[in-house]
Symmetry: D2
Subunit: 340 residues, 4 copies
């Protein structure tokens, strides 16, 4: 099979860089178009670590030029900016993996938490890019909405236990994320001195990823209690999830059975950590049952670890592109962690 | 008033050092006896940072010698070792603040989670050293059981809301602690490479501080779901607490009212962090109400931050000693944080 | 003796905060005036860690108001801004400790590395605030130029060996500094992701502290080769110094003898580290002689550690104020390190 | 060309893991034998990050078994242990890349700094595995002594300037290394609390890598003044080098010319950092000339960055194996850095 030309629009940020790092060595995808909103530079100027590795030009993003040189495009742009590119690209028959939030939610929910949506037509057809939920649909998708990092780690942790869960009880997600999740932008929150030797919750019970989690799990938004915490780590995400379940079952066995064929989920008998998944597309999951016997059922503690920039964004996007293009799901997907 | 001679047994570890750091500059306590289990050394040999500050001899711990030179002794020893000193010291009329777990729990619970107890008599009389719960009792105590670090941060966060809490619902405590909590001992868990750029839960739903929390809150052990996480930080502890409450009330106002006279609790309108309390005896607390309306009541998210070695151990111990000796609660207690 | 009213202009930054943290508990200085360039706020708003500790108003800096309420003022302002306050304050008879670079260098050198100087008169009378060099002069000074952090650590390391040094050979200073030295300003260099797990030299052989070092050591600027490195640490500074010496002597003994009466220098037999000085005014120094016998003499490796915000700025400033006011040099000066 | 069977003895440590991570995806090398000194385990048990990636058995190291299954073996063992395997493996015609110090130095120097050598015959024939010095010899080598991490970064930095260097002047190497260089062993030095927010020199002017540097540069041991510092980083190494040079030349241009064909050295116009090389075999080098004009010539500041586990050990070892087996030098060698 010949190579497939792909492009990246939004090459400057962290997720853009991660896409490039994967695509440079992908055995089937050929990086034929790289752009950001300014253009007029090179990959090595933007990302000095690519010196002697890849020095493509970075162009000013242009739908026409992109469409003539690619069969599929990754958009690593902020929400609202992304939809302005998706619409014309899809119209020209280019497949798109959008890493923003623009196509993840039904219009009413999207507009409640983000901004007005200007591409309802494609929104209705977009497939949510979590293979563990929509593998079949992804294979024939033209437009994939790549999931948020928090939703990925949370959904993969909760999903296997949805049938055991006691209806109408809280799903509590206490998430911890590395600072790269906040992006390259300078802010008080990313100043080294404010983060180092520190730890705090932010947007508690108010983060925009909560409706995404609820919607994909098929529960009411008010049942998901989501609190992210910023930790002094560059990359990594750990979601500590607490749910109430009923019935007599072995949670670890259920988890293992649920993911026995999953290429990018690993079930662990020991509490999972951030390090073993850093740099990879793996989601590592651990579960522990409490011995409590409350009225409303037992508590499960689920710990779910991903690399926020990889499984939480860029390697997940390439998995989706693989599926969309009829390739093996794990072709060219990094599986060697940044340990030690 | 003249000075009060005090001693420290267990001068080698982190909590021992923190005690010394406070006592060296305490306006009323005079550090007249310093010991560890080996003796034959000096403070500066154990803790080079004390050079040109304080170079007392460190003696081999001896009850007789200690009793003749001190009115009050701090024990910074592992559990089980501590009780062997408490019994004879109390017998000689010396007041004791014990930083171990030995006198924190009723005998049956203690023996279930730790080891056989050999000093039931004093155990029955020991006062749990949380002034926010037992200030009055502490003023006349001879033996104080200094609280664990996790229980301190958790109890202070939950306490104000116990009346609003829906009975028989889970109290979920997702705690994050710095590595100094694991002590000086060499272990896989404290190896820099294993902790740095990493984060994981340990002893999930099984940590020995859970029964301490339950017992002091007056709830059943099975209602407390406690999961500590190790974070790549030297000192600091943040407990993220989720409870179900009922009734119409303003959680922030209730919290402010509850702690309006507390010298060492600060209520914050913004999420609290580890840095603002590091090096001090403050516990900073934030609360956020969810808008959910579940069958079993609303969810409160409570975030409670302390310095694990200070409010979680050594400065709390000196507060207790102040109370036991009739001094002002905050005399000589550090209140200047290690920011930035 | 009654209290002495002092003020701080420049309360917002890291060195301003450190000044406040020391002055709040100083036994003789009374913090009677706190200002920044905007005013209209409070200390707790600027620095939440001061809640329940000190909540003075922060005023808009005004020379008149300042002069009526203080006998001495600390200026924690950027260079160039500082001299605009020094001139009128000195004219009104107020003593000043200036933490900027404005009064550290002779006019010609200052103007070469910084900007035009508008207060030559006071510049000529300012005393360089390193007690180890100018203790006597400081006692009668009206205006003290507080030394830069790099110069402090470098000069204190080199000074004892100047007589042994081979003339005209390079003085190599390889310095490592924590990120707080770069201040609160947002920049690429202070973004957590750029600093964490990273290390690099900046302004190599071109930093403005090099002429300060050369001038105070009395050597030619071209003999000082100074390269600072940024390290992923919040506070701390370590200077690794290499000089060529001649003659037969014991470097450690010479160092000990030189600083035997110094209250804030500690000579160590083991390599020094950042942690034992963090939070204090100590400078810890270690020296090691090579066994080499080059034509031009042996090499000495000198390692000099300070807290960049304390001995490198704010606690040094309070030491200078103590001397200017006839107080004991170490009155109210923090000597308990942030270990562990 | 068919695959080449290779083995790893010493699979437990950090350099062993890094070897495995590279070899698992190497296009020509087939990992046919993995062992450590105990055996009886699996790769996933030793390194959980390899779950769902590679789960070979880990055998008890045995020369016979190894020799029958491999054409080339990597030894990732401590010095002294390594030579016991090298001798019989070489005798059986197996090629060996030894990552220990055992074959790096002439016997007299080795025995002075390490221990008695028991394999003088092979020592005499071993090739030092730095392609920039010995590419030609490596192509026909049976036994390669893989360089130490500090020597790699130092030699690559100094080498281009040896002809410009003023004879008999000091070569000063102030190196900074991440903690993974200290290995998995538990020690005070690797305890998180001792390293985090800290920085110190160790073995100043006495480290065993100094003679290796001197010997390979062809200078007298007494001319190399080497001081390593431990920094709170997991992986990375930066050597700051100061040498005296004479003559009129452009140091950056000379550096670029020297390495213009080097596949794994990158010359930078800006100071280099650890992050851009982490996870790769690149050595990034920057040079800056001082404007000084001392008697003995000008000073060059050279900054040389590598990943201590990769270019400083394991990826360098695979490069050497590539050369020994007639493959392209960069075949299967990681070049995508762990940024951000």
């Amino acid at each position: 099979m010949s190579v497939i030309n792909v492009g990246v629009i939004g090459a400057s940020g962290y997720t853009g860089l991660e896409l490039l790092k994967i695509l440079i060595h992908h055995p089937k995808f050929n990086l034929s178009y790289v752009a950001n909103t300014e253009g007029g530079t090179t990959l090595v100027s933007l990302h000095p670590s690519l010196a002697k590795v890849c020095d493509l030009d970075v162009k000013k993003a242009d739908v026409e030029e992109c469409a003539t040189s690619c069969a599929l495009v990754f958009l690593a742009l902020p929400h609202q900016s992304a939809m302005a590119y998706v619409k014309p690209l899809i119209a020209k028959g280019i497949k798109v993996v959008d890493l923003s939030a623009d196509y993840r939610l039904p219009q009413d929910i999207y507009e409640k938490f983000y901004c007005p949506h200007t591409d309802a037509q494609n929104l209705a057809k977009a497939v949510y890019g979590l293979p563990e939920l929509f593998r079949k649909e992804l294979k024939s998708a033209s437009l994939v909405a790549n999931p948020g990092c928090f939703p990925t780690s949370a959904i993969l942790g909760v999903l296997p236990f949805m049938e055991k869960r006691v209806k109408n009880t809280p799903i509590i997600i206490d998430a911890k994320t590395g600072v790269s999740g906040a992006g390259k932008k300078l802010s008080e929150t990313t100043h080294f001195v404010n983060v180092n030797e520190n730890l705090f919750a932010y947007n508690p019970l108010m983060h925009r990823h909560a409706p995404e989690i609820a919607q994909k799990l098929g529960v009411d938004f008010e049942e998901v209690h989501f609190v992210p915490h910023l930790v002094p780590i560059t990359r990594g995400m750990l979601s500590s999830i607490y749910i109430q379940v009923e019935g007599d079952f072995d949670a670890h066995e259920l988890l293992e059975a649920y993911y026995k064929d999953a290429k990018h989920v690993r079930v662990s008998k020991n509490p999972v950590d951030m390090k073993n998944v850093a740099g990879t597309n793996f989601c590592d999951i651990y579960v522990k049952q409490s011995k409590a016997s409350l009225e409303k059922g037992n508590i499960l503690f689920i710990s779910s670890a991903i690399d926020n920039l990889m499984r939480g964004a860029s390697s997940a996007a390439v998995v989706n592109a693989n599926l969309m293009m009829g390739l093996d799901e794990d072709l060219g997907i990094p599986n060697i962690a940044y340990v030690p």
